[in-house]
Symmetry: none
DNA sequence: TAACTTTGACTTTCTTTGACTATTATATAA
DNA sequence: TTATATAATAGTCAAAGAAAGTCAAAGTTA
Protein backbone atom coordinates (compact mmCIF):
# COMPACT_ATOMS: atom_id res chain seq x y z
CA UNK A 1 0.00 0.00 0.00
CA UNK A 2 1.40 3.33 -1.03
CA UNK A 3 0.57 6.69 0.48
CA UNK A 4 -2.22 7.42 -1.97
CA UNK A 5 -3.90 4.16 -1.08
CA UNK A 6 -3.63 4.98 2.60
CA UNK A 7 -5.12 8.40 2.15
CA UNK A 8 -7.90 6.93 0.04
CA UNK A 9 -8.71 4.46 2.77
CA UNK A 10 -8.64 7.14 5.40
CA UNK A 11 -11.11 9.27 3.50
CA UNK A 12 -13.42 6.37 2.72
CA UNK A 13 -13.33 5.42 6.34
CA UNK A 14 -14.21 8.95 7.27
CA UNK A 15 -17.17 9.02 4.92
CA UNK A 16 -18.30 5.56 5.97
CA UNK A 17 -21.98 5.85 6.67
CA UNK A 18 -22.13 9.57 6.19
CA UNK A 19 -23.51 11.17 3.13
CA UNK A 20 -20.56 13.51 2.89
CA UNK A 21 -17.51 14.86 4.70
CA UNK A 22 -15.57 18.06 4.70
CA UNK A 23 -11.80 18.01 4.69
CA UNK A 24 -9.08 20.60 5.03
CA UNK A 25 -6.58 19.88 2.31
CA UNK A 26 -3.62 21.32 4.18
CA UNK A 27 -4.45 19.57 7.44
CA UNK A 28 -4.82 16.26 5.70
CA UNK A 29 -1.51 16.78 3.94
CA UNK A 30 0.13 17.45 7.28
CA UNK A 31 -1.44 14.39 8.82
CA UNK A 32 0.05 12.24 6.13
CA UNK A 33 3.21 14.24 5.82
CA UNK A 34 2.89 14.90 2.13
CA UNK A 35 2.51 17.88 -0.16
CA UNK A 36 -1.02 19.25 -0.41
CA UNK A 37 -1.29 18.49 -4.08
CA UNK A 38 -1.10 14.81 -3.27
CA UNK A 39 -4.54 15.16 -1.79
CA UNK A 40 -5.71 16.44 -5.15
CA UNK A 41 -4.11 13.46 -6.79
CA UNK A 42 -5.88 11.03 -4.52
CA UNK A 43 -9.19 12.77 -5.05
CA UNK A 44 -8.86 13.00 -8.78
CA UNK A 45 -7.94 9.36 -9.17
CA UNK A 46 -10.20 7.79 -6.55
CA UNK A 47 -13.13 10.04 -5.78
CA UNK A 48 -14.39 10.67 -9.26
CA UNK A 49 -18.06 10.66 -10.30
CA UNK A 50 -17.57 7.37 -12.13
CA UNK A 51 -16.82 5.82 -8.78
CA UNK A 52 -19.83 7.36 -7.13
CA UNK A 53 -18.41 10.47 -5.54
CA UNK A 54 -18.95 14.15 -5.99
CA UNK A 55 -16.46 16.75 -4.84
CA UNK A 56 -16.89 20.43 -4.08
CA UNK A 57 -14.36 22.81 -2.64
CA UNK A 58 -13.69 26.35 -1.68
CA UNK A 59 -10.41 28.25 -1.51
CA UNK A 60 -9.39 31.07 0.75
CA UNK A 61 -9.89 31.44 4.47
CA UNK A 62 -12.13 28.71 5.80
CA UNK A 63 -11.61 26.78 2.61
CA UNK A 64 -12.50 23.10 2.43
CA UNK A 65 -12.92 20.06 0.26
CA UNK A 66 -16.26 18.37 0.53
CA UNK A 67 -16.67 14.83 -0.73
CA UNK A 68 -20.15 13.41 -1.18
CA UNK A 69 -21.54 10.07 -2.19
CA UNK A 70 -23.94 10.26 -5.07
CA UNK A 71 -26.92 8.04 -5.60
CA UNK A 72 -28.77 7.40 -8.80
CA UNK A 73 -31.76 5.62 -10.21
CA UNK A 74 -30.64 2.32 -11.67
CA UNK A 75 -32.66 2.25 -14.84
CA UNK A 76 -31.83 5.84 -15.70
CA UNK A 77 -28.26 5.15 -15.02
CA UNK A 78 -28.06 2.18 -17.35
CA UNK A 79 -29.85 3.99 -20.11
CA UNK A 80 -27.73 7.08 -19.94
CA UNK A 81 -24.61 4.98 -19.69
CA UNK A 82 -25.51 3.11 -22.86
CA UNK A 83 -26.09 6.40 -24.63
CA UNK A 84 -22.82 7.78 -23.40
CA UNK A 85 -20.73 4.91 -24.68
CA UNK A 86 -18.81 5.30 -27.89
CA UNK A 87 -17.70 2.58 -30.24
CA UNK A 88 -14.39 2.13 -28.47
CA UNK A 89 -13.63 1.23 -24.89
CA UNK A 90 -10.30 0.45 -23.30
CA UNK A 91 -10.10 -2.08 -20.51
CA UNK A 92 -9.34 0.58 -17.94
CA UNK A 93 -12.32 2.69 -18.95
CA UNK A 94 -14.52 -0.37 -18.79
CA UNK A 95 -13.28 -1.16 -15.32
CA UNK A 96 -14.15 2.35 -14.24
CA UNK A 97 -17.69 1.85 -15.50
CA UNK A 98 -17.90 -1.50 -13.78
CA UNK A 99 -16.90 0.03 -10.51
CA UNK A 100 -19.49 2.69 -11.06
CA UNK A 101 -22.16 0.06 -11.68
CA UNK A 102 -20.98 -1.70 -8.58
CA UNK A 103 -21.18 1.50 -6.59
CA UNK A 104 -24.81 1.88 -7.55
CA UNK A 105 -25.54 -1.74 -6.80
CA UNK A 106 -26.61 -2.38 -10.36
CA UNK A 107 -24.30 -5.32 -10.58
CA UNK A 108 -22.63 -7.33 -7.86
CA UNK A 109 -18.96 -7.96 -7.34
CA UNK A 110 -19.01 -11.33 -9.03
CA UNK A 111 -20.69 -10.05 -12.14
CA UNK A 112 -18.22 -7.21 -12.35
CA UNK A 113 -15.36 -9.66 -12.17
CA UNK A 114 -16.91 -11.88 -14.82
CA UNK A 115 -17.38 -9.00 -17.23
CA UNK A 116 -13.97 -7.56 -16.54
CA UNK A 117 -12.37 -10.93 -17.13
CA UNK A 118 -14.41 -11.77 -20.19
CA UNK A 119 -13.36 -8.57 -21.90
CA UNK A 120 -9.86 -8.13 -20.50
CA UNK A 121 -6.92 -7.47 -22.76
CA UNK A 122 -5.82 -10.98 -21.99
CA UNK A 123 -9.09 -12.55 -23.03
CA UNK A 124 -9.20 -10.55 -26.23
CA UNK A 125 -5.53 -11.11 -26.86
CA UNK A 126 -6.11 -12.77 -30.20
CA UNK A 127 -8.10 -9.86 -31.54
CA UNK A 128 -6.11 -7.25 -33.45
CA UNK A 129 -5.07 -4.60 -31.02
CA UNK A 130 -6.85 -1.98 -33.09
CA UNK A 131 -10.13 -3.84 -32.88
CA UNK A 132 -10.05 -4.89 -29.26
CA UNK A 133 -11.52 -1.68 -27.95
CA UNK A 134 -14.31 -1.88 -30.49
CA UNK A 135 -15.17 -5.45 -29.65
CA UNK A 136 -15.12 -4.60 -25.98
CA UNK A 137 -17.47 -1.69 -26.50
CA UNK A 138 -19.89 -3.83 -28.53
CA UNK A 139 -19.95 -6.58 -25.99
CA UNK A 140 -20.23 -4.26 -23.03
CA UNK A 141 -23.16 -2.47 -24.58
CA UNK A 142 -24.91 -5.76 -25.25
CA UNK A 143 -24.48 -6.73 -21.66
CA UNK A 144 -25.88 -3.45 -20.41
CA UNK A 145 -28.91 -3.85 -22.61
CA UNK A 146 -29.48 -7.30 -21.13
CA UNK A 147 -29.14 -5.90 -17.65
CA UNK A 148 -32.01 -3.48 -18.16
CA UNK B 1 18.15 -26.79 -11.17
CA UNK B 2 18.51 -23.53 -12.98
CA UNK B 3 17.77 -20.08 -11.61
CA UNK B 4 14.20 -20.05 -12.83
CA UNK B 5 13.54 -23.31 -11.04
CA UNK B 6 15.02 -21.92 -7.86
CA UNK B 7 12.91 -18.80 -8.03
CA UNK B 8 9.87 -20.92 -8.75
CA UNK B 9 10.54 -23.02 -5.69
CA UNK B 10 11.13 -19.95 -3.57
CA UNK B 11 7.81 -18.45 -4.56
CA UNK B 12 5.92 -21.69 -4.07
CA UNK B 13 7.51 -22.02 -0.68
CA UNK B 14 6.45 -18.51 0.16
CA UNK B 15 2.87 -19.16 -0.82
CA UNK B 16 2.82 -22.48 1.01
CA UNK B 17 -0.28 -22.45 3.13
CA UNK B 18 -1.23 -18.92 2.24
CA UNK B 19 -3.95 -18.04 -0.14
CA UNK B 20 -1.74 -15.52 -1.88
CA UNK B 21 1.46 -13.51 -1.61
CA UNK B 22 2.57 -10.14 -2.74
CA UNK B 23 6.01 -9.74 -4.21
CA UNK B 24 8.14 -6.82 -5.20
CA UNK B 25 9.60 -7.72 -8.55
CA UNK B 26 12.73 -5.65 -8.07
CA UNK B 27 13.42 -6.97 -4.59
CA UNK B 28 13.04 -10.52 -5.69
CA UNK B 29 15.36 -9.88 -8.61
CA UNK B 30 17.92 -8.49 -6.21
CA UNK B 31 17.58 -11.44 -3.91
CA UNK B 32 18.38 -13.78 -6.74
CA UNK B 33 20.80 -11.45 -8.38
CA UNK B 34 19.07 -11.47 -11.72
CA UNK B 35 17.38 -8.98 -13.98
CA UNK B 36 13.81 -8.08 -13.03
CA UNK B 37 12.38 -9.43 -16.22
CA UNK B 38 13.46 -12.89 -15.21
CA UNK B 39 10.78 -12.75 -12.58
CA UNK B 40 8.28 -12.17 -15.35
CA UNK B 41 9.67 -15.15 -17.15
CA UNK B 42 9.30 -17.39 -14.14
CA UNK B 43 5.79 -16.19 -13.53
CA UNK B 44 4.68 -16.52 -17.09
CA UNK B 45 6.02 -20.02 -17.42
CA UNK B 46 5.23 -21.45 -13.98
CA UNK B 47 2.43 -19.54 -12.35
CA UNK B 48 -0.15 -19.76 -15.05
CA UNK B 49 -3.82 -20.52 -14.47
CA UNK B 50 -3.45 -23.97 -15.96
CA UNK B 51 -1.13 -24.75 -13.08
CA UNK B 52 -3.45 -23.35 -10.46
CA UNK B 53 -2.28 -19.80 -10.05
CA UNK B 54 -3.42 -16.38 -10.99
CA UNK B 55 -1.42 -13.22 -10.98
CA UNK B 56 -2.26 -9.55 -10.56
CA UNK B 57 0.11 -6.61 -10.50
CA UNK B 58 0.43 -2.87 -10.32
CA UNK B 59 3.16 -0.58 -11.64
CA UNK B 60 4.43 2.66 -10.20
CA UNK B 61 5.25 3.59 -6.63
CA UNK B 62 4.05 0.90 -4.29
CA UNK B 63 3.78 -1.49 -7.19
CA UNK B 64 3.58 -5.22 -6.61
CA UNK B 65 3.01 -8.63 -8.10
CA UNK B 66 0.39 -10.69 -6.36
CA UNK B 67 0.28 -14.42 -6.90
CA UNK B 68 -2.72 -16.36 -5.68
CA UNK B 69 -3.35 -20.03 -5.37
CA UNK B 70 -6.54 -21.17 -6.86
CA UNK B 71 -8.32 -22.57 -3.86
CA UNK B 72 -8.85 -26.29 -3.63
CA UNK B 73 -12.06 -26.13 -1.71
CA UNK B 74 -13.90 -25.13 -4.86
CA UNK B 75 -15.27 -27.59 -7.27
CA UNK B 76 -12.81 -29.73 -9.15
CA UNK B 77 -15.41 -29.46 -11.77
CA UNK B 78 -14.10 -26.13 -12.89
CA UNK B 79 -10.55 -27.37 -13.09
CA UNK B 80 -11.38 -30.38 -15.10
CA UNK B 81 -13.56 -28.29 -17.31
CA UNK B 82 -10.71 -25.90 -17.96
CA UNK B 83 -8.43 -28.77 -18.79
CA UNK B 84 -11.02 -30.25 -21.11
CA UNK B 85 -11.48 -27.09 -23.11
CA UNK B 86 -9.72 -26.74 -26.40
CA UNK B 87 -8.60 -23.57 -28.05
CA UNK B 88 -11.86 -23.15 -29.94
CA UNK B 89 -15.40 -22.84 -28.72
CA UNK B 90 -18.56 -22.05 -30.65
CA UNK B 91 -21.33 -20.09 -29.04
CA UNK B 92 -23.58 -23.12 -28.89
CA UNK B 93 -20.94 -25.23 -27.19
CA UNK B 94 -20.36 -22.46 -24.72
CA UNK B 95 -24.05 -22.29 -23.95
CA UNK B 96 -24.03 -26.00 -23.26
CA UNK B 97 -21.25 -25.52 -20.76
CA UNK B 98 -23.04 -22.58 -19.21
CA UNK B 99 -26.15 -24.65 -18.68
CA UNK B 100 -23.99 -27.32 -17.13
CA UNK B 101 -22.40 -24.83 -14.78
CA UNK B 102 -25.84 -23.57 -13.95
CA UNK B 103 -26.96 -27.09 -13.22
CA UNK B 104 -24.15 -27.56 -10.75
CA UNK B 105 -24.95 -24.21 -9.18
CA UNK B 106 -21.49 -22.94 -9.90
CA UNK B 107 -22.90 -19.85 -11.54
CA UNK B 108 -26.32 -18.28 -11.30
CA UNK B 109 -28.74 -17.43 -14.06
CA UNK B 110 -27.67 -13.82 -14.26
CA UNK B 111 -24.02 -14.68 -14.60
CA UNK B 112 -24.79 -17.17 -17.31
CA UNK B 113 -26.70 -14.54 -19.23
CA UNK B 114 -23.90 -12.04 -18.83
CA UNK B 115 -21.28 -14.47 -20.10
CA UNK B 116 -23.44 -15.67 -22.92
CA UNK B 117 -24.11 -12.10 -24.00
CA UNK B 118 -20.54 -10.96 -23.60
CA UNK B 119 -19.27 -13.71 -25.89
CA UNK B 120 -22.17 -13.99 -28.27
CA UNK B 121 -21.66 -13.96 -32.01
CA UNK B 122 -23.18 -10.51 -31.97
CA UNK B 123 -20.79 -9.15 -29.38
CA UNK B 124 -17.80 -10.59 -31.19
CA UNK B 125 -19.14 -9.53 -34.55
CA UNK B 126 -16.14 -7.42 -35.37
CA UNK B 127 -13.72 -10.26 -34.81
CA UNK B 128 -12.77 -12.27 -37.88
CA UNK B 129 -15.08 -15.21 -38.06
CA UNK B 130 -12.13 -17.59 -37.99
CA UNK B 131 -10.89 -16.12 -34.75
CA UNK B 132 -14.17 -15.75 -32.91
CA UNK B 133 -14.19 -19.25 -31.52
CA UNK B 134 -10.63 -18.88 -30.36
CA UNK B 135 -11.31 -15.60 -28.61
CA UNK B 136 -14.41 -17.07 -27.02
CA UNK B 137 -12.42 -20.03 -25.75
CA UNK B 138 -9.72 -17.77 -24.32
CA UNK B 139 -12.20 -15.53 -22.62
CA UNK B 140 -14.31 -18.37 -21.32
CA UNK B 141 -11.27 -20.05 -19.85
CA UNK B 142 -10.21 -16.85 -18.16
CA UNK B 143 -13.65 -16.51 -16.65
CA UNK B 144 -13.61 -20.07 -15.37
CA UNK B 145 -10.26 -19.47 -13.76
CA UNK B 146 -11.63 -16.41 -12.03
CA UNK B 147 -14.63 -18.35 -10.86
CA UNK B 148 -12.51 -20.86 -9.04
C1' DT C 1 18.55 -28.43 -33.72
C1' DA C 2 14.77 -27.14 -30.84
C1' DA C 3 13.32 -25.73 -26.65
C1' DC C 4 14.27 -23.33 -22.70
C1' DT C 5 16.69 -19.64 -20.04
C1' DT C 6 19.05 -15.34 -19.25
C1' DT C 7 19.79 -10.56 -20.25
C1' DG C 8 19.01 -5.81 -21.14
C1' DA C 9 17.15 -1.92 -23.66
C1' DC C 10 13.02 0.28 -24.10
C1' DT C 11 7.96 1.18 -22.79
C1' DT C 12 4.04 1.95 -19.90
C1' DT C 13 1.72 3.00 -15.78
C1' DC C 14 1.16 4.99 -11.41
C1' DT C 15 2.90 8.08 -7.60
C1' DT C 16 5.23 11.90 -5.47
C1' DT C 17 6.86 16.52 -5.43
C1' DG C 18 7.06 21.42 -6.00
C1' DA C 19 6.66 25.75 -8.35
C1' DC C 20 3.25 28.63 -9.83
C1' DT C 21 -1.76 30.19 -10.14
C1' DA C 22 -6.53 31.27 -8.56
C1' DT C 23 -9.91 32.29 -5.18
C1' DT C 24 -11.83 33.88 -0.82
C1' DA C 25 -11.98 36.13 3.67
C1' DT C 26 -10.28 39.59 6.53
C1' DA C 27 -7.74 43.50 7.88
C1' DT C 28 -6.39 48.14 6.60
C1' DA C 29 -6.41 52.45 4.27
C1' DA C 30 -8.70 56.23 1.86
C1' DT D 1 -18.24 52.96 3.38
C1' DT D 2 -15.50 51.46 -0.18
C1' DA D 3 -11.27 50.12 -2.24
C1' DT D 4 -7.05 47.72 -1.55
C1' DA D 5 -3.68 44.79 0.42
C1' DT D 6 -2.68 40.53 2.83
C1' DA D 7 -3.15 36.06 4.38
C1' DA D 8 -5.13 31.69 3.95
C1' DT D 9 -6.64 28.32 1.29
C1' DA D 10 -7.27 25.23 -2.74
C1' DG D 11 -6.06 24.10 -7.91
C1' DT D 12 -2.99 23.02 -11.93
C1' DC D 13 0.55 21.09 -14.33
C1' DA D 14 4.68 19.20 -15.53
C1' DA D 15 8.90 16.95 -14.06
C1' DA D 16 11.03 13.39 -11.45
C1' DG D 17 10.69 8.95 -9.38
C1' DA D 18 9.27 4.19 -8.77
C1' DA D 19 7.65 0.27 -10.11
C1' DA D 20 6.23 -3.42 -13.51
C1' DG D 21 5.74 -5.08 -18.64
C1' DT D 22 7.46 -6.30 -23.35
C1' DC D 23 10.24 -8.17 -26.64
C1' DA D 24 13.89 -9.84 -29.01
C1' DA D 25 18.70 -11.17 -28.97
C1' DA D 26 22.10 -14.06 -26.97
C1' DG D 27 23.27 -18.04 -24.34
C1' DT D 28 22.40 -23.00 -22.69
C1' DT D 29 20.94 -27.54 -22.62
C1' DA D 30 18.74 -31.81 -23.92
Amino acid sequence: MNLSDIIEEYIKNAIDEEEAIELKRSELAQTFNCVPSQINYVISTRFIPELGFYVESKRGGGGYIKISRISHSKADFLKSLICKLGSNMSQSVMDVYLRELLGYNIIDEKTAVVISTALSEKSLGQVDKIKRDQVRADSFKNILVKLI
